[in-house]
Symmetry: C2
Subunit: 147 residues, 2 copies
């Protein structure tokens, strides 16, 4: 039941970009340094986030990454889904992912409801937390590290 470092670091990076939103592109190097993540690893993650349309990039000198949308329009759930796939405790809940909607139970699956509850409750938290929520909290705490 863990979130992988892809998800963890990805959220950190997006949070960093949210703090710096509106200041033009921020180089990967700066994000990596502030968020204590390896540059080369973060590059992978931001690449995926770019292909998913959550960040935009500018190449060349003075280039970097920035959020593709305002912080209040990007949720943590979106970030996690890009970096880790569907948010679901069990593949069988995710009808889009091939393995049919049911496990091998003879009749209806009694346990399905349990796992669905778990999924819903995870998604509720992650989809209702936006980068703006995190940004404003950082400002309130006085730990906004942007510039």
């Amino acid at each position: 039941m863990r979130v992988s470092t892809r998800g963890e670091y990805g959220v950190r990076a997006m949070f960093d970009l949210a703090l710096n939103y509106g200041n033009g592109p921020i180089p990967l190097k700066a994000v990596a340094k502030r968020q204590l993540v390896s540059e080369t690893y973060l590059e992978q993650l931001l690449g995926a986030l770019r292909r998913a349309g959550l960040v935009s990039s500018t190449r060349g000198a003075q280039g970097g990454y920035e959020l593709a949308h305002p912080p209040e329009r990007i949720t943590v759930g979106q970030i996690i889904r890009v970096l880790e796939g569907p948010i679901t405790p069990l593949d069988c809940l995710d009808t889009d992912s091939g393995s049919g909607p049911y496990c091998g139970q003879p009749d209806q699956c009694v346990l399905r409801g349990l796992w669905k509850n778990l999924q819903d409750s995870m998604e509720r938290v992650l989809d209702n937390t936006t980068l703006e929520d995190l940004r404003s909290k950082a400002i309130r705490l006085g730990v906004a590290q942007g510039q």
Copy 2:
């Protein structure tokens, strides 16, 4: 964000034992067959659940496993913790597990609250679902397979 097969099968097995609660020890073989889980693998899981005090076992012929407590006193959260460890999206939330309460952030960690919310919401579901909840649902649906 997945539950492993240990957790999944473990809950299935405990659910099966709940359906058969009060009928004396149920052999592993019967549980494995009904729940479509490999016998040798399930043996590992039930061993851990026994050592954790959630099931009791009777050795020898006519032996088997049974719940150590009535179904309403065992939660899915307990089962998952035995088989997968603490329910937490990030190790840093779990103060008992060595790696200190904080990630490497300079000041307070703004993101911690997010992950804590996620953890709370997962635990709320898993700790509030008892085996009795699952058992009564199975009976209501008419899919109780015990005997």
